[in-house]
Structure formats: structure tokens, C-alpha cells
Amino acid sequence: MKRTIPLLLASIAGFIMIVAYFSPHTESWGEEVAVWFNILAAVAFILGGGNLLKIHLRKVSDRNSGWMYSVITVVSFLVMLFLGLWKFGVNPNPQFPDYGHWAGEYNDSTSPFYWLYEYTFKPLQATIFAMLAFYVASAAFRAFRAKNFEALLLLATAFVVLLGRTAAGVFLTDFIPADGPFAALRLEEMTQYLMNIFNTAGNRAIMIGIALGTASVSLKILLGVDRSYIGSGDD
């Protein structure tokens, strides 16, 4: 029961999607299943929030090291959640003002939910991603060594593309006439050839490999050969 039903569910859902792809008569089945899938994807956001709350509340109750930070996480989570779900401070919908704030947009620019998005979420997320610029620089200094021909090839490509995709490339190889026989040696031209031919060839081969791998893993799951997703344990 605990194993068979999940296996059946996975196979049926998957094969409906496959059949729906090939026949217009079964198209609506596929749509229906996909809609359920999407609803579950939204429920997964709630599951994620619930999990986060569970983990951090446990950290607080166990007084694990850094539990104070978990308090901050829990409080910011609950505040943001309340403001958003309650549509707190949201203006009414101009089409239906008699419905009050409930019919308004949750991210209305007068709401505290929007304020917290604009002045905390946005700068925090953007800056956390901005940090990557520093780490990539540090890694470049420490890790990229031309130890052999292959590594040299990688570095040379990186140089050409890095320079070729800015005004530096144009400036450095400006002495090569753009309509002469050696125009291809201009950095911006070289970048294009590297990207369009060599990069395309490499990524295309990788894509073909990944596609075969994905298809075979999917098929294994649908046929019940790979059951690892159900997990082991009591059954």
C-alpha cells in the first residue's frame, strides 16, 4: 500500500502526460494533470514555509548555537506572512471597492508587505547575489592555473571572451582593419566565432548527453525501475 500506490500514481500521471503529447484527443487530460501539478507546486511553497518554521522553532527551543538568529528568521517570516496573507494595508480594487482590501492586490504599493519587499527583500537578495562577483575574482586569482594545454585553452578562451565582450576588445585590436582579410582576428569577431562554433559544438554535445540521461532516468521512474524517490523505510 505504502509503495504500490505511489508507484502507480507516478506511472499513470507520467504516461498521461506522454500520451497527451501525441494525440489532440488526449490533450485535455494532459492539461488537467498539469493544472494539478501546478497547484501542488504552489502548495510546495507552503510546505517550504512550514518546514522552515519547524526547523527554526526547534533551533530556538533547543537553544542551539545561534538560536537568536533563528528568532529573527521566525519573526520576519511570521510578520511577512501575516501582512501578505491578510493583505494588510492593501487598498481596495478599483473595480470592486465594496469588497474592501480583500479584493486588492497583495503587493499594492501602499501596503507594508510591499514596503518590506522593496526595502528589505529586494536589497538583501540582490546584494547576496552581488557577493558572487567578489568570490569569482578571488577564485580567478587562486584557482585558474595554466597547468597544461587544456587549461591554457580554457584560459585563453576566457580572456578573449572577457575582453571581446567589452569596449576593451574593440580598443585592443582596433589596428586590424574591420573589412580586411584578418578581420576575424579582432577580439570582438573572435568572440563571436568562439561562441557560435566552438561553444555551440561543446554545449550541443553536452545537451545531447543530458537529454539522453534525463530521458532514461524519467523512463526508469515511470516504469518503476527506479524507486528511490519513494524513499526507504517502513513499508
Binding site: A34, V35, N38, A133, F141, R165, N196, N199, M207
Partner: protein, 292 residues
């Protein structure tokens, strides 16, 4: 001396990186000068695909990004919105990323409301908002939008939105523009929309630097044009501004990517120098090691 550089505190590198970005931003912010931009074929193709549409034709703009990638993708989203509005197209916005809805609202507030006050919501542009489900959403709307979208982001009944009349699926769009920060993004649109309906759905887009090389194999058969990272955005921006000059005093708003090519240039040169410096240390080290 050699030992010092070999064991260099990485915070010096961080500082260099900070300066290489901050100083050009300051200089460009003060002088308001940008580098001249020549558009390469991929960006030109994106531009031409939009130009090929007649006023009143329908274009779907899927903004699949968030503040974490706004530095790269914000300018191209703005340029797309500006170009399509200038061209008089009908704009259908949607998002597969939860933050995408906010990105759409930001672009409407930045471009359409101040600079195209004659455009009417529901007739000239509509925000269909975000739906959860990633490629699952594409799977549904590629054959039936109303199966999944009953209202737009503002809670208007989709049946009562004039520009949604007669639209069964995204196959009726004359062009699709995607701004992609990762999964789900351009790859999924190619796989689930363009590949099964190559005649009906035409897609061009812009993506982050991380994704760009991975999308090249789709070019040009499945993806005729692509704005690759901030450089692609900058090239496209220059084409758009040249074809549709913004009102006086508003040019700068539509030159964000071109300004950002300044820090880009200095930081790229810094990266090259860092790799060279790292390798010089490596070779000295290897020579000493061989001698010892």
C-alpha cells in the same frame, strides 16, 4: 615579496573588485558618457523580430527573473517594454518566477505609465501575473490559457479583458519575448512551447551570463535571437534608442545597460590581470619547486 603575494589576503582582491566596479560607476554617473555600442547579429535579430511585427500585433512578455538577477536583466526587460510600447504592440505580461509579477509591475510603473500614458490597461497591455508550476504552466497555456488563468494579476475576469478576446492559447501570440534568470526560463520555453509548435510560436529573449552559452545550441533554429547578459542588453538598448528616441530628458532612463558596460570593462580587465598574476605566482613557484 613573493611570499606576500602568494599568501595574499583575499580581501585585497575584494577591495580591487569593489573599486573596479565603483569607480567607473562614479565616473560615468558624473560624466554621463557611455561607450559606443555596435550591435552584433544576435541582438540585431531580437530587434528585427520585434520590428517585423505590425502595430496592434500581440506579443507575450514572460519576465522570469527576480531582484537577484535584476542587475543583468532589468535593463533588457525595460528595453523590451519600451520597444514593444513604442512599436504599438499589444503587450501580454506573465511570469513563471514568484517575483516576476513584481518585476512586471515595476516595468509598467517605469515605462508604460510615465512614457506611454495613452496605453490603456486591458486594451494595450495586461499583466497576467504569476502562476506556480514552472514548465507545468507552459504545458497548460500552450494549448489553453483560460484553463489556468481565470483572472489577471489585478483580479479582473479574463473574459472581460478586451485584449484577451479570442485568445485561446499562447499559440495566438505573434511573438514571444522571454527574460530569463534560470529555471524555469528560456530553456523551458524552447522545450515546451517552441519545439512542439515551431510554426505557431516564435521566441526570442534575453538571459543571464550563466545561461547564455548553454542556449547557443538552440540558435537559430529554435531561438532566432538572444540577448546574452548585460552586453546583449546594451547592444539591444542602443538599437532601440536609435530607432525610437525617448523624449528629451528621458534618454538616460533607457541607457542603463550601456552605462553598466563601464564597470563591466574595468572589472573584466581586472579579472584578466588577476588570472595572469595568479599564473605568474604559479610559474615562479613551480620553478622554485623544480630547483629545490
Amino acid at each position: 615579496m613573493f611570499e606576500y603575494f602568494r599568501n595574499l589576503d583575499r580581501r585585497w582582491i575584494f577591495l580591487l573588485m569593489l573599486l573596479s566596479v565603483a569607480v567607473p560607476i562614479y565616473v560615468i554617473g558624473k560624466t554621463k558618457e557611455t561607450f559606443p555600442e555596435t550591435a552584433l547579429p544576435l541582438a540585431t535579430n531580437v530587434f528585427n523580430e520585434i520590428e517585423a511585427l505590425q502595430p496592434g500585433e500581440k506579443v507575450l512578455l514572460a519576465f522570469d527573473y527576480d531582484p537577484g538577477s535584476e542587475g543583468e536583466l532589468g535593463p533588457m526587460a525595460t528595453a523590451f517594454t519600451y520597444h514593444c510600447s513604442s512599436r504599438g504592440l499589444k503587450l501580454y505580461f506573465m511570469a513563471l518566477w514568484p517575483l516576476g509579477r513584481q518585476m512586471i509591475d515595476d516595468n509598467i510603473a517605469k515605462v508604460i505609465e510615465p512614457d506611454f500614458p495613452d496605453m490603456v490597461y486591458g486594451e494595450d497591455y495586461v499583466n497576467l501575473g504569476f502562476k506556480a508550476g514552472n514548465e507545468g504552466v507552459i504545458k497548460v497555456i500552450v494549448t489553453d490559457i483560460k484553463q489556468f488563468y481565470t483572472t489577471d494579476a489585478r483580479g479582473t475576469n479574463i473574459e472581460q479583458i478586451p485584449m484577451m478576446e479570442g485568445i485561446k492559447s499562447i499559440q495566438q501570440m505573434d511573438l514571444m519575448l522571454n527574460v530569463s534568470a534560470g529555471y524555469p526560463g528560456t530553456k523551458e520555453w524552447v522545450q515546451y512551447a517552441v519545439t512542439p509548435y515551431p510554426k505557431e510560436i516564435k521566441l526570442v529573449g534575453g538571459c543571464t551570463g550563466v545561461q547564455a552559452p548553454l542556449l547557443y545550441p538552440y540558435i537559430p533554429q529554435q531561438l532566432p535571437g538572444l540577448l546574452a547578459a548585460i552586453k546583449g542588453a546594451s547592444e539591444y538598448e542602443s538599437l532601440v534608442i536609435k530607432a525610437y528616441p525617448p523624449a528629451e530628458g528621458k534618454e538616460a532612463k533607457y541607457m542603463e545597460a550601456q552605462r553598466r558596460m563601464g564597470p563591466q570593462l574595468v572589472a573584466h580587465v581586472l579579472m584578466v590581470l588577476l588570472i595572469v598574476a595568479g599564473n605568474i605566482i604559479f610559474f615562479i613557484e613551480r620553478k622554485r619547486g623544480a630547483r629545490a
